[in-house]
Symmetry: C2
Subunit: 322 residues, 2 copies
């Protein structure tokens, strides 16, 4: 099993590779190699098999050609320009999120090897005046360019699969929390940093009110679902390769309470409340009454409680110096 992770330098890509390295198998077959590809050379990981790290710019077909080969069995396409960044830089968002996806799929079509392609879509495809609840068969009416580009990516995954060019599957990722590392340019960045920074003894700013509701998944569960997602049979997917990945809806207040339950009362005191209109304008347009019926019926799952999300961060990611 030769696996390529595009976006392999990102949080989810690195964790996915580490988890696959631990298990050594995907879909019951031994993994022979993982290639981590990203726009900047991604960090390598420890593994009992070959790990290759590559620079790949998916906006450039020649670069994609050098990264996807005849013997690539499974491709995780996780690379993206995130929401606020794609909103600021429309061209870059189109080039990576739409044309980058197209370039990867075109390379697969040219190779005629029909690899499994696991595409990370997003709950940002929901929006507009579409009534709740939302899920697998909701009309996509995104209100960000990122959401639009992901919605188009879903259609490409479906059509390339229908034509037999790939064996695709696309999952709309919930917002990942607690995301380790540094804040990124996603408008949702604060949804991790208000927990991560206080757990690490640092101050953080919360730009929305405690009753702000959103749909979350831990990185650990996300990786587990991405692995199960690659293992689903084509037959089980039917005429639509796209589905919502399970998550749960929590308020900011509930998330902070969970942190207090797990880590005591000190971290919450480090949160500064500072309303930020530009962040609010984006995130209040996002939907949260989301249900993942198909994925749940296919064996994917969400965190049991937000206490779990906090515990997973502490176990998997908290810097040991804290």
């Amino acid at each position: 099993m030769n696996i390529l992770i595009i976006g392999g330098g990102g949080v989810v890509g690195q964790k996915l590779a580490q988890t696959l390295a631990k298990s050594g198998t995907l879909n019951g077959k031994a993994i022979s190699k993982i290639t981590l590809a990203d726009i900047n050379n991604p960090p390598s990981i420890e593994a009992p098999f070959d790990i290759e790290c590559q620079v790949c710019d998916i906006a450039d077909p020649a670069s994609v050609q050098k990264t996807i080969h005849k013997d690539t069995d499974v491709i995780y396409l996780l690379a993206a320009i995130v929401s606020a960044h794609a909103e600021e830089d429309f061209e870059l968002g189109m080039n990576i999120n739409l044309f980058g996806t197209y370039n990867v799929l075109e390379r697969c079509r040219a190779l005629r090897t029909k690899p499994v392609v696991v595409f990370s879509s997003s709950i940002a495809i929901y929006g507009g005046e579409i009534p709740d609840p939302l899920g697998d068969h909701t009309y996509p009416n995104p209100q960000t360019s990122y959401g639009g580009q992901k919605a188009m990516g879903e259609i490409l995954i479906n059509d390339y699969s229908r034509k037999g060019f790939i064996d695709g599957r696309a999952f709309r990722l919930p917002t990942i929390s607690v995301r380790p590392g540094k804040p990124n340019r996603a408008a949702s960045s604060f949804m991790s940093s208000i927990l991560r920074e206080p757990l690490n003894g640092q101050e953080a700013i919360c730009p929305v009110d405690p009753d702000f509701l959103h749909y979350y998944l831990s990185p650990r569960k996300c990786v587990e679902n991405l692995i199960k997602g690659a293992e689903l049979t084509a037959e089980s997917l039917g005429m639509n390769r796209v589905m919502q990945m399970p998550g749960r809806t929590w308020s900011i207040g509930q998330m902070i309470d969970a942190m207090t339950t797990v880590a005591g009362s000190e971290p919450a005191k480090l949160i500064k409340w500072d309303s930020q209109p530009e962040i609010k304008r984006i995130v209040l347009g996002w939907k949260f009454d989301i249900h993942a019926e198909r994925a749940t019926s296919l064996g994917l799952s969400a965190d049991a409680s937000f206490e779990d999300n906090i515990r997973y961060y502490i176990e998997d990611d908290q810097p040991t110096s804290v």
Copy 2:
């Protein structure tokens, strides 16, 4: 009012230009010029204002640049590689239907003039295992590449409008019947030819059974709706510029009966019934329980009866030599 019709050599494009030439106005403003652009030099039309005919390949950004100018007020984007053709030639379908649309929108973005863009989408965006009834807010699960490319076009129209690059509106056209002229490469071509050819005294082949149901609109009503569609205010469209254009669902048997009612019993005798599996495979995947609530509430409309569709063909299109 300077109007550009891309796909201006096609049946709908020509009729749209002729209708605009007769009225002389769009949205209450005098028309100063219509440009007809198409992949082959389109036929000119009679008009009391300037008519320009141009070759334009929307797959080529340089060609698009020569066709869309600072003073272009309204763009009708009707050019497409139709269903069976896009299914046979995947690359051509992508290049015209997806990248052609993108090139037109990118030219508008570069000009910063925010023209009205009226995009012809299609009921081919519906499909898969999505439950009936279908309409404005149905999840698009197309089962042809043409349908997928149109679904992506809808998302682009919405996002370029949201960003303020265009003032877009997209309408999912029903199947046009009775379509004049020669059969084309759409899998739906027979849905006109089984009426048109017999009305013209010629034999025609019907590849499906009389109880085959589908969703139709006459060319005359389609043009009327495309004109109303350009005249809708941006405010009336809200957060979603995409809607189903009104049509009506008829069986092949009802359509033939309507022909007999209007034109006597001779034409129906010219229909040869010859089941064609490849056509059936495509068209039986199409949906027909379709409703156009938004467009109807905004003043667009369908034919009152299929007898009207037959009469419009005889009045507008039947060769006088018959």
